[in-house]
Structures are given as C-alpha cells and as structure tokens.
Symmetry: C2
Amino acid sequence: MAKRMVSLKDISKACGVSIATVSKALNDHSDISKETKERIRAVADELGYHPNAAAQALKTNRSNNIGVLFVDEANSGLTHDYFSHVLDSFKKKAEQEGFDITFINADKTRTNNMSYLSHAIYRGFDGVVIACVEFADSEVTELINSNIPVVTIDHSFYNRISIVSDNIKGIRDLVTYIYEQGHRKIAYIHGSEDTAVTQSRLSSFYKTLQELDVNIPDEYVVSAPYRNIEKSLEVTNKLLDLPDPPTCILYPDDFAAFGGYNAIRMRGMTVPNDVSVAGYDGIEIARRISPVMTTIVQDTDKIGRTAATKLIDLINNPKGTLIEQIVIEGTLQPGESVGKI
Amino acid sequence: MAKRMVSLKDISKACGVSIATVSKALNDHSDISKETKERIRAVADELGYHPNAAAQALKTNRSNNIGVLFVDEANSGLTHDYFSHVLDSFKKKAEQEGFDITFINADKTRTNNMSYLSHAIYRGFDGVVIACVEFADSEVTELINSNIPVVTIDHSFYNRISIVSDNIKGIRDLVTYIYEQGHRKIAYIHGSEDTAVTQSRLSSFYKTLQELDVNIPDEYVVSAPYRNIEKSLEVTNKLLDLPDPPTCILYPDDFAAFGGYNAIRMRGMTVPNDVSVAGYDGIEIARRISPVMTTIVQDTDKIGRTAATKLIDLINNPKGTLIEQIVIEGTLQPGESVGKI
DNA sequence: TTGAATTACGAAAACGATTAAGTGAGAAAA
DNA sequence: TTTTCTCACTTAATCGTTTTCGTAATTCAA
C-alpha cells in the first residue's frame, strides 16, 4: 500500500473548508454550492486524491464488492470452460455497475481457515454468487441461509434467486434432433448423479425417449464424471463393446465428449459415420474443430449477466426483489458429430 | 451486508475487559494471560464474531488482498485458457498465504471510471499481478511505476519482478524437434508483433533455423492474432497455396493451431501425413484429442505459483526482495501432429 | 420591519480495529 | 524495607469517511 494516502483532511486543509464539506462536495450533495464543489474537486485532482474503500465500507456498510464461490468436483476452478465464461460475463456486468469481484476462498487447506460465510462477512461482501458447487455442503447451506444477498447458478433453493440453464429443454432438443436423424439406439453417459443439473437432464432424457416411443436397454445409461476425457473414453468403450451397441452417445459435456471422439477413433472408426456423438455446453473448441460437435450451446453470457443483474437488484433492494428461478435456454447446435441413419 | 456485526466491543462487554484486551487476545499478543485469552476466544466464538476486513485495513494499511490485472487483445478475460490456468495457480498459492484475489477492472466503459492505479489505491491492494496486458498502455506503466508491489507475467520491466516463460528455449526445442523429424520447409504463423512474447519467439525461431542451417523464404513467416481459429485457418490456406508450400507450420498457440487442423482437413488432407502442425502452450484439449498436438507445454502451475510467491515476498519485504526476472521453462510434447519426413 | 424559510457550511460522533503509552498490583531484587 | 521489575491489563488516539444535527448568514414573505 502507498505510504500515506491523500485524504479528505488534506483537501479540507488545502481548501480551508471542513472535512464534512469536502466529503459532501465529492459526493455531490445538494447542500454545497456549485463554486465550492468545483474548487474542492479541482484540488482533489491536483493532490491526487483517491477515496479509501476500506474507510467507506466501514462507515457505510457497503463494500461494492461481490464474492464469488465456485467449487467443482474436479476442483478445476477458473479453468472450467463453462464456468469461466459465466463468470466472465458476470464480472463484466458487475463491473459496469461499479462492483468488484473477489473470490471466496475454496481452499480448505489454508492456515487461516474460515468458513465461506465467515469469509463473506469478513470481507463485507454486498452479495455473493454461488455456482456449480456441491450444494449439499453444510458450509454452502450456511451461506445460503445467511442474510447476505445470494444468487445461485445451476441449482435452486426455494428461498433464493437462482439462474439455471434449461436442461430439460436442452436434452429434449438434443434427443429429438438425434431421433430425427434416425437414431433409435441412443446411449447417455451422464455426469455425477448428485447434482441438480444431472438430475434434470436425466429425467428429461427418459421423458423424451418415452414421448418418442423409443426403448433403450438399461446398459445404455451410465455415469462418468463431468469434464473427464479419460473416463468417458473408458465408458464409451464399454458401450461399444455391448452386444448391441448404441449408434449415438450423449456425453456429460463437450469436454467429456472428446473422450468419445478419441475412443471411437482409436477403434479405427469415425465420427459420425460409425458412431454419433453429442456433447453439452457448446464450448468454443467444440464449435470450432471438425467434426463440429452436435451439442447444446449454453448461453453463458446471459447466465452470467442475469445473475449479476439480479444479485445487484437484490443488493439494492433486499425486500422488494422477487425471489425467482430464472431459466435460461440453450440452443441446439446441429454440428456434424451426429450422422443420419 | 449483515445487519450489524459482532464487534470487539460486544466481546469486551460480555467479558468485562477492555476492547484493547480483546483485540490483543484474538491476535495472540504476549501481554494477555492465557486464561483471559481462552475466555475471550470462547466468548468470541459464542457470539459469532468475525473480524472486519475494512476496519483492519483502515487501521493497519494492509488489505490482505491482491489485485489482478489482465487484458488481452481479444478481451477473452477469464476464458483465456493459458491465463486462466496461471491465475488459478496464482490464486491457490495466494489463498494459502491468506490473501484474497480481486480483479482490477479492465472495463473502460463503466460509469465510475478509474485508472488501474486509482483502482488499486482505492481498494488498498497490498500488491498487484499484471499479466498479458498491452504493456505499453500508459495506465499500465503508471501502475508499474507506482509504489505498489508489482509482479508482471510474460513481460519484463527493468525495475520490477517478472515471471516469464522461456520462449527462447521453447521455440528452439520445438523447431529442433521438427527439424529432427526431417522437416526443412518450416513456416511460422506468429502472434501479434507488438508483444514481448512474440518478439522472443520470433527471434528464437530465426536463430534456431540459422544454427540448423535451414533457409526459409520470407513468405513462410506471417502473422495472425493469438487464439484466433478463423484467422489462422485463412493464413494456413495462404501458406498452403504457395508454389512451394511448407511441410510444417508453427502457430501462435494451440488454439490457433486448431485453425490449422481445420484448414488442412478442409483441403482433404490430414495432419500430420500431408502437413505437420505445431502449437504452443499445451492447453488441455490439445493434449487430449487426436492427433495429439505437438506443442510446448507451459508450466502454468509454476508460473502462477512463482508469481504469487514472489509478490508476497515483495509485499512482506519491499526493500529486501531481489528484483529479478524469473524464467520458467516449458516442456516439449512431441505429440502426433508433426510427422516424420 | 420582522419572522420564517432557505442556503451553505461546520462540529462531532461513529464505523471496528490496532497500538503506543500508561497504570496498578504483586513479585523479585537490593 | 525500599526499589525495581513484570505482568496483565486499560486509556485514548487514530485510520478515512459519512452523516446527523446545528448554526450563521442571507433571502423571502407579509
């Protein structure tokens, strides 16, 4: 930190007015004359004055700082493609509104350990956004049930605002498209069962198949972790080793779907001629390299932006903001990885 | 923010001691008896006390908060694979040491505009890490020349600690490997010329070729933006349209190299049989999908960790910390995208 | 001309924490 | 016994802002 800050006091001395007057002038209060305001502002500039966030926060109980909590099963942190896009969009919107973003420590190994809530209180976050975490974690529920404004992403709580992507529609669109391409032997490698996202995708998968009057054997529905290329490769091989293998396989996400690409290629087969592959998320690379992946492109931009907007609404008007679940639709990208049969 | 915080005052009342005693007890000062400390700590827990970062920062001039500044040409922000890995590693290390991470606003469109330096002073960051930015930006130099502890990544200033990846060695290793595979017609699509990274890679490219006694036509060295699949696709096509096309092409980064994959495939050719491709960075997807990319895998973990370590050293000991440029080597991943000739 | 309203500012407390300096009691040293 | 230390606290100032409540001077209404 700088040696010593230029403070209101310095300006007040230089201008021959009181500290209160300086504060009010800089905050554009109405009870300071135009001339005085201008003079004070000029001197402030000249002296190189910068407000002090700590002092302001202390006095006003407003930090203009939002806490971000993100933990995923793989601990991929910032390197998680889907989340990093959401966060990036969230950040942009929040910054436009004058908020900064600070991470809530997810590392539980650190010396000075604090619970998520403690951390949030310590930093005086005006609000917190929670994404992709294991929402059953007691520390998470503690945070959610606190009186700090919270918005959750991809998981809903009855008493909190949440932004979730439309997994029901996403899977329905995807499966319907695959069906329309002629596939009837459709397998689904879904992500970890204990997340809300997986649950809704899975139920939508079954429901859609039922509506389309497609029957699939139980062996077609298996589990693999999200974002894990090796595991999906393994599981893909098992599926293709079945006596009656599927003609199309859905994956937990695009990244995992690349594991499918690999497995299929390693068997000397090609996508989509021999086996079709569908991902989920629409990460950049999946949209850019051939065969372009058939997937649901998440509207990460909208998810992040909406989360920020709603959280800031909530911060500015804790009582008057509607608690709701906002569902954001993704769009089907037909791509090239699902072939016609 | 919570209604009203439990403060030292509340504890002091509950314990019948002075506020000073409570403060010292919680900070484990030596002039408080063991019994009193224990009693105070118990009451603090019971009351649900959390320290107040703002008050602490105000009083101590220490925020335990590090500012992160990152801007790249594409404004990819957090979604930049290389940077997000570096940042993730930086964050982990910093958090272990009790620091939080806050972004320095890169959005210049916001209402309440502040220069990077103003922002850093405003938040009272103990230190700042700067990465991948356009380092010629006057706001950046202002920040670098301030008295805030700074560590830069991938760009060096004579009076500041910097962490840079070993681009000289990286390109040398890469080109040498390609040479050993029998290639003599080696083209280089390099990134934007105005960055230090590009400069050192480019000079290493020329130097290595010279040492290997390889001559290439001027047309083999062209420019395309970093992380831009479309542009590299275009430029690749131009290279392959040359009367005497290269047998191997180096790209600005792995992401861009996928543009090469695409261009080559769209011509009905295959990598590496018809044309060889080399990337740079070693992003996860490049290491995972076939043909596995021949590239230099950056040690993002070490870069981030080292940056954090050095910055914290500098914060804790501004005078006594050696100003140095730390070079972090990457490792050649042979991969499969460069073939034998 | 007088009382009321308006304008432009100042004094001071408060937010929560830290810390230098001071204090009183008992223990140790002389 | 007197002096000197230690020990275990307390007092009070301070960090930089904000904000409530005054208040003096000026303007306005009647």
